[in-house]
């Protein structure tokens, strides 16, 4: 059964979903924009029989606190620090990380800082290569180059309810598999006063993730973490070459594509859940027997 809980990190509340036996190997699920751990509501029961599953909401998202921008820096570096402290606050020594969208730069910062804690990486449309970035990023990249008020305002398109719905439905073969409450809930949370500016700050700081891609790639090459990519191939933001590229730095990486979009779990949760279970049953056993 999933529990809905809060931990306190630096005075701010971090909401998290937790399921499965605490003595089992942990999978840390890191969500993307503009959603929350809600995106894992169907994956959690598919994994929590053998595994301990923990899915926090990033600060500014879901049911975690969204502190005022005047006192909280909305950068990926800071968000990763908070999530790192969160894992320590709830006593996680080792974990596999599920990287999706924003969860990728957050989780890879954790892995870079503490490679010894990482048992495996699962990237679901969690990008670490420039060739994975589609043209949908053009207006955001323009804002990185010229951080003007005008270019910031242009990005408000990404905060509209119709854009969020589009993110869920684009590239999906059977739209009747996508639960409408997913994008409704995201839109309700994006509409909270002040959340727009928080999201725009993070758009600006996303440039720092791209700047770190070479470091993330070096980490794949030198530490060789077990890596599974489960990728919605019609994602309008992160392209299949971003998934294939993992094999360049780590030939043992396993890459699976699904005929769906960005939020692949909305349509393919059973398939992706099975692939993760199969992958972890091989990788985590081998590691523990070698130890």
């Amino acid at each position: 059964m999933t529990k809905y809980q809060y931990a306190t990190v630096d005075g701010d509340k971090i909401f998290y979903r937790e399921a499965g036996p605490k003595t089992a190997p942990t999978i840390l699920l890191l969500h993307g924009f503009p959603t929350s751990s809600h995106m894992f509501r169907n994956l959690i029961p598919a994994l929590s029989d053998p595994y301990h599953v923990v899915a926090p909401d990033l600060p500014g998202f879901g049911f975690s606190d969204a502190p005022d921008r005047k006192r909280f820096r909305y950068t990926f570096e800071h968000v990763a620090e908070v999530i790192d402290s969160f894992t320590q606050a709830i006593g996680l020594d080792a974990y596999a990380i599920y990287l999706f969208d924003y969860g990728a730069p957050v989780g890879l910062r954790l892995a870079w800082a503490h490679p010894e804690r990482v048992t495996a990486l699962i990237s679901q449309n969690g990008n670490a290569y420039e060739e994975g970035l589609s043209q949908s990023w053009d207006p955001i990249q323009k804002y990185w180059k010229e951080p003007t008020a005008e270019n910031r305002t242009a990005l408000r398109e990404f905060l509209k309810p119709e854009t969020t719905k589009w993110q869920y439905l684009h590239g999906v073969q059977d739209a009747s598999l996508v639960a409408p409450e997913a994008y409704e809930l995201d839109s309700a949370l994006l509409a909270r006063p002040g959340n727009d500016e928080i999201q725009l700050d993070l758009f600006l700081d996303y440039a720092s993730n791209v700047a770190l891609y070479p470091k993330f790639q070096e980490y794949f090459r030198t530490k060789r973490p077990s890596l599974l990519a489960v990728w919605g191939k019609n994602d309008p933001f992160f392209l299949p070459p971003g998934a294939e590229a993992f094999k360049r730095d780590n030939p043992a990486a396993e890459v699976h594509f699904y005929d769906t979009g960005h939020f692949a779990l909305e349509t393919h949760v059973q398939e992706i859940g099975s692939a993760i279970r199969d992958f972890l049953s091989r990788k985590l056993t081998r590691q523990s027997s070698a130890a």
């Binding site: 809905y4 809980q5 909401f15 509501r41 809930l185 398939e271």
Partner: protein, 282 residues
């Protein structure tokens, strides 16, 4: 996924109706009628547990969830028209027989459907809904006052309808185990209640709730006459109805084929229930 849930929309009486559907179409059908201010979404956890054996169909009423939100000029927001649209919906779907699962507002919608077409009903499952006056306890005094004199109590009712605290309490009740309740349940409902025009629609519909109270004797008489299979599920942490409602339901709405079960949950049903082990008409 063997039996995924599909989210489909159909047109009935000029209104778009969203419904969830799962399970084999040749299996016995359960028609799920939701409560206030929720939608078919409240049944999501049960769909995952029952779709291997039953054909599950859960529509959103007009004015709720992801169905159309007509204004008062286009649609009379009362229980009779809602039940009538739901009847049309079942016929458009080709459902000749079904077990009705009725929670909260699902009760008055479902009893109307059952009385209109008793031959279609294979069994009734009621969960945290009442069909008897004693079930509306002390906390219904202010609501009865609203029915007696709407203008004098309109503003208080609207404030309560829009309140996030009330919306949350409907889910958690007095259950000490709050960690088992997903906050997106009430966040989503709160966004729904605060959407343009919703407070007008919901106020109209709640004013019409008095017609349910007036119909209780008729529904009870039908239960006595028809003697349907009848399962009563009650969340012991429910604060929306009188705590004794389950017992008085047992007394007042008994049929020869009744069963009763108190659940360790509240007004809604976020906790897994062992429904599939209970008898459902086949």
């Amino acid at each position: 996924m063997e039996h995924p849930t599909f989210y489909r929309t159909t047109q009935r009486d000029g209104l778009s109706i969203l419904y969830r559907e799962a399970g084999p179409k040749d299996a016995p059908t359960l028609l799920w009628l939701h409560g206030f201010p929720s939608s078919s979404r409240m049944f999501e956890p049960l769909f995952a547990r029952l779709s291997d054996r039953y054909h599950l169909v859960a529509p959103d009423y007009p004015g709720f969830g992801h169905s159309a939100r007509p204004d008062a000029k286009q649609f009379d927001h009362s229980f009779d028209p809602i039940a009538s649209v739901m009847d049309d919906f079942t016929q458009a779907m080709g459902l000749s027989h079904y077990t009705l699962y009725m929670q909260d507002y699902g009760g008055p919608v479902g009893f109307r459907m059952a009385l209109a077409h008793p031959q279609r009903v294979q069994a009734l499952i009621v969960q945290d809904t009442v069909a008897h006056n004693e079930g509306l306890g002390a906390n219904w005094a202010t609501r009865r006052a609203f029915w007696a004199d709407r203008p004098a109590h309109e503003e208080a009712l609207r404030t309560n309808l829009m309140s996030l605290a009330t919306t949350k309490t409907r889910h958690v009740g007095d259950d000490p185990d709050v960690e088992l309740y997903d906050p997106d349940l009430w966040t989503d409902e709160n966004a729904f209640l605060n959407a343009p025009g919703q407070v007008d629609r919901q106020s109209d519909l709640f004013y019409d709730y008095r017609t349910n109270v007036a119909a209780y004797p008729k529904w009870q008489a039908w239960l006595q006459k028809a003697q349907p299979k009848f399962l009563v599920l009650w969340g012991k942490h429910d604060l929306s109805f009188d705590p004794a409602s389950r017992n008085t339901t047992e007394r007042t709405c008994r049929t020869r084929r009744s069963r009763y079960s108190k659940q360790d949950t509240s007004h809604f049903l976020p906790k897994p229930m062992r429904l599939r082990r209970w008898y459902i008409s086949s």
